[in-house]
């Protein structure tokens, strides 16, 4: 039996931030970091750029080689958490090794959802979540000519663009009527779609795939309306979902992800969860939500670590705010907070179709609820803070609406001093 004080499962944004925070206040207790991946820690967000060849796998390692040694962290790669004995405070890894822990953090992220499309399981396809996926996709893309991407979420859109950059003929099939739902409203989404069309990507919105089947080296995809597409490369990007088999037999409560409180504690004693695996407080409502974005994984990892180390500086998690800085074909779409107006919100929109510029501000009682923009300079971090801090914009409202960038900067600077 091996023993450790802190056991962290998952070596990506949430897990790495947690060990960093733990070491800030606890320089000595043993930390063990287990990750399923055989590669040195990297960010899933970088993967589309690995596919396009812009980023070399060996240059995107999130921690220098000597980091773990220097901070006295035992890193176990290419292994996996498979079960937890909550009363005995032990875990079992895929290798069969058992570890005794005092505190356990689950930061195992999420895995691609494989939709129940008839024929899909018999057809070769790609997903994009790990370095190996990216390398496989990159290698295949080098040989392929026609790609179909299922899903117009973040991963599908990034994947499609990079396949296009790699010279493929690309089609996106999406069930919803718009791209990037949840981050952008229909008008902004239309501007993004337009850029994709203009760059030669076919956008089949509001289309449902009813069947997929192998065809030679590739596949045939049949849509609900009867149309069919042929492709020699299929990328499935229809969402992600945590893989939680290792929780069997524990009292950890699960909905779409692991349910946690504002300190990232699960319902089981001595077990925390953070990042894409966790379902935590929403900034806007009562329901707990899955965030699935990088900045939030960092925040949650930090909160968990501060609670695990009983750091008095801990401020409970304020709640998830959707944030998306989406760059596509040299343009920028940024969305912080809510993107859809309802009756309780004041909405201000400015659209400049000609130059593809767009700005939308949502306020409730003169407090920022959400802001989204296309091709406008925007400090997303400042907007995030204005939302989180519920800054009352009443005295500067006109200025904020006219010049959100400068006004936001001045507001943040004044709170800093």
């Amino acid at each position: 039996m091996n023993t450790t004080h802190y056991l962290v499962a998952g070596a990506s944004h949430a897990g790495l931030e947690a060990v960093h925070r733990i070491r800030l206040v606890d320089g000595t207790s043993p930390i063990t970091l287990v990750t399923r991946d055989a590669h040195a820690p990297y960010s899933p967000t970088i993967l589309p750029y690995v596919v396009s060849g812009q980023s070399a796998p060996e240059r995107v390692v999130l921690r220098p080689a000597d980091y773990f040694l220097q901070h006295n962290i035992t890193l176990i790669s290419d292994n996996e958490l498979v079960s937890i004995d909550e009363t005995g405070k032990q875990v079992t890894l895929k290798s069969g090794d058992r570890w005794q822990y005092a505190k356990l953090l689950l930061a195992t992220g999420a895995d691609p959802i494989i939709p129940p499309i008839p024929g899909l399981s018999e057809t070769p396809f790609h997903v994009l979540r790990t370095m190996q996926h990216a390398i496989d996709l990159r290698d295949h893309a080098g040989k392929a000519k026609r790609a179909v991407v299922l899903g117009a979420g973040l991963i599908g859109m990034h994947g499609a663009e990079n396949l296009r950059h790699a010279g493929l003929d690309v089609t996106i099939v999406e069930m919803c009527d718009q791209v990037l739902p949840g981050y952008f409203d229909a008008r902004a989404a239309a501007l993004i779609e337009h850029a994709f069309n203009a760059n030669g990507i076919r956008m089949l919105m509001g289309s449902r795939v009813v069947r997929v089947e192998p065809l030679g080296d590739g596949c045939r995809i049949t849509l609900e309306n009867g149309d069919s597409l042929e492709a020699d490369l299929l990328l499935v990007a229809t969402g992600v979902k945590p893989q939680l088999d290792y929780l069997k037999g524990t009292s950890v409560q699960v909905d779409q992800g692991i349910l946690v409180d504002r300190r990232m504690r699960t319902d089981a004693p001595h077990i925390w969860a953070a990042g894409d695996v966790a379902q935590a407080a929403d900034f806007y409502g009562e329901e707990k939500v899955m965030m699935g974005i990088l900045p939030d994984a960092v925040t949650q990892g930090a909160v968990a670590a501060m609670d695990m180390t009983e750091d008095h500086a801990l401020k409970p998690y304020i709640g998830g705010v959707p944030i998306n800085t989406y760059t596509f074909f040299g343009q920028q779409a940024i969305s912080v907070g809510q993107s859809l107006a309802d009756a309780s919100l004041e909405e201000l929109t400015r659209v400049d179709e000609e130059n593809g510029r767009y700005l939308k501000i949502l306020l409730r009682e003169n407090r920022l609820q959400g802001i989204s923009s296309i091709n406008q300079e925007m400090d997303a971090g400042i907007m995030w803070q204005l939302i989180l801090r519920k800054v009352d914009l009443t005295p500067v409202k006109d200025a904020f609406i006219a010049r959100p960038l400068e006004t936001g900067r001045a507001l943040m600077s004044s709170t800093w001093r």
């Binding site: 967000t45 995107v60 900045p295 925007m378 400090d379 943040m412």
Partner: protein
């Protein structure tokens, strides 16, 4: 541990309201060879409702959120310089760093099509050089920490000074720098009162310390120093005395030692009064100040007489070295400590340090350094030095001093000051500077 240099911004000096954009243009020029403000990595924005301007600039954070949000490793903190370095060849333009930063420190440049941030111009920032009003300054006091933090703090932990006490800071900085071969005298006042002379048979210092009478500090030190010299030991005879112990009750022995040019390092920590016995006025208490012996009522409006300028009096003893200092300008103080220490080998060295007192002056304990700074910047407490036989020399000349209210407004002890008193204080400040300038050969 390493500390780093940084750019400081003083909005009260910024001329943005007069359409000055010198720093912005300088940055755009240096980084992109253009005057377009888009290329500037420093952004000054107008304050609200007549408030001073605000700044968006990378703070080169200690635990940088931009770095944590970066998926490509393009951003890293350089352990040697403290800079957050950005590596173009790794960046994938995802803009996630702009989500991490709350200060507008890293922003997308649509012309260059990538993010850009301040890199402090390799330690010689163009914006600071271009700023015509001194609103931007490049603060290098971190180097003091890097040089000094390995030296031992020769006071014990847990001295019972008030929260925010400037004197404790002065004591610890001074003795750490002067070093262990020291005999220290701390005449009655806050300094021994907070425990530096010790209690229950142990001292509050890690060097020999004694508690002379208020009247005989300098003469006792003179004798001790002579005895050490006789024994062939090179020991610094140092005093940390309050303004009362130096300039009022202790003045006779101080003046005598200075006149004889005895080898002493005498540091006067001037909090303008007898603070530890209940905030009574001293000869150093400034005109108009509230103290418990110069109260504010229907007749009396604080102290009726002017403060005496002890530092100038000491200069007129023509001793080896005399200087004034302030904890808001530590680099300046450290340089003066070096000089004073060397001078004390030859003869008498006197340092006069302004020490605003949160408890006695009634300002929040978080504002100590700000009060110190404004004291200097209004010319209320000018920084200068004098070496035997030479001219007085301003070490931090203030060309455009703030009005003295900027200093007075910070402390409760001046709260009652009326127009007439204010004019009088301003006039005293002006006269004092004029006199000093004469000694400096400037007019």
């Amino acid at each position: 541990m390493t500390a780093y240099n940084t750019i400081a911004f003083d909005p009260s000096r910024c001329e943005l309201c007069n359409d000055c954009d010198a720093c912005i243009t300088a940055c755009a020029q240096v980084k992109s060879g253009s005057d377009d403000p888009l290329h500037s990595r420093i952004k000054i924005v107008a304050g609200f409702n007549g408030n001073p301007p605000e700044l968006a600039l990378c703070r080169q954070c200690g635990d940088p959120e931009c770095v944590k949000s970066c998926p490509s490793t393009a951003l890293t903190k350089n352990p040697d310089t403290g800079l957050i370095d950005w590596e173009k060849s790794l960046c994938v333009d995802c803009l996630l760093c702009t989500v991490g930063c709350s200060y507008g420190g890293i922003t997308y440049n649509a012309t260059l099509q990538h993010v850009a941030k301040c890199d402090l111009c390799d330690g010689d920032p163009a914006c600071v050089k271009a700023c015509p009003s001194g609103a931007l300054s490049y603060i290098t006091s971190a180097s003091i920490f890097n040089e000094q933090h390995e030296r031992e703090d020769l006071f014990v932990p847990g001295l019972s000074a008030c929260q925010g006490c400037n004197s404790e800071m002065i004591m610890r900085h001074s003795l750490r720098k002067v070093g262990p071969d020291t005999v220290l005298a701390t005449p009655p006042g806050c300094i021994p009162g907070m425990g530096s002379v010790g209690f229950n048979g142990t001292t509050g210092t890690k060097v020999p310390v004694f508690h002379p009478l208020l009247t005989n500090t300098a003469s006792m030190l003179a004798g001790l120093k002579k005895q050490y010299n006789r024994m062939g030991r090179n020991v610094t005879a140092m005093a940390l005395a309050g303004d009362g112990g130096a300039g009022d009750v202790g003045f006779q022995s101080l003046s005598g030692a200075a006149e004889r040019n005895d080898q002493i390092l005498f540091i006067c920590v001037d909090n303008e009064g007898y603070m530890n016995t209940g905030m009574q006025a001293s000869g150093s208490t400034s005109y108009g100040s509230w103290t418990t012996t110069t109260p504010v009522g229907s007749e009396m409006k604080g102290k009726r007489t002017s403060q005496k300028n002890l530092a100038m009096i000491m200069m007129n003893h023509n001793c080896e070295y005399v200087a004034t200092a302030s904890t808001a300008f530590v680099e300046d103080y450290y340089e003066k400590l070096d000089k004073a220490l060397a001078a004390s080998e030859r003869g008498f060295a006197y340092l006069h340090i302004y020490s605003p007192c949160p408890t006695g002056w009634r300002f929040p304990s978080s504002q100590t350094i700000e009060v110190c700074r404004k004291g200097v910047e209004t010319n209320f407490a000018p920084l200068w030095e004098y070496e035997r036989g030479g001219d007085l020399h301003f070490t931090h000349p203030i060309d455009n001093p703030l009005p003295v209210e900027a200093y007075l407004n910070l402390s409760g002890k001046y709260r009652h000051v009326n127009e007439e008193q204010l004019a009088c204080i301003q006039q005293q400040v002006n006269e004092r500077v004029r006199t000093l300038k004469r000694y400096a050969g400037l007019n």
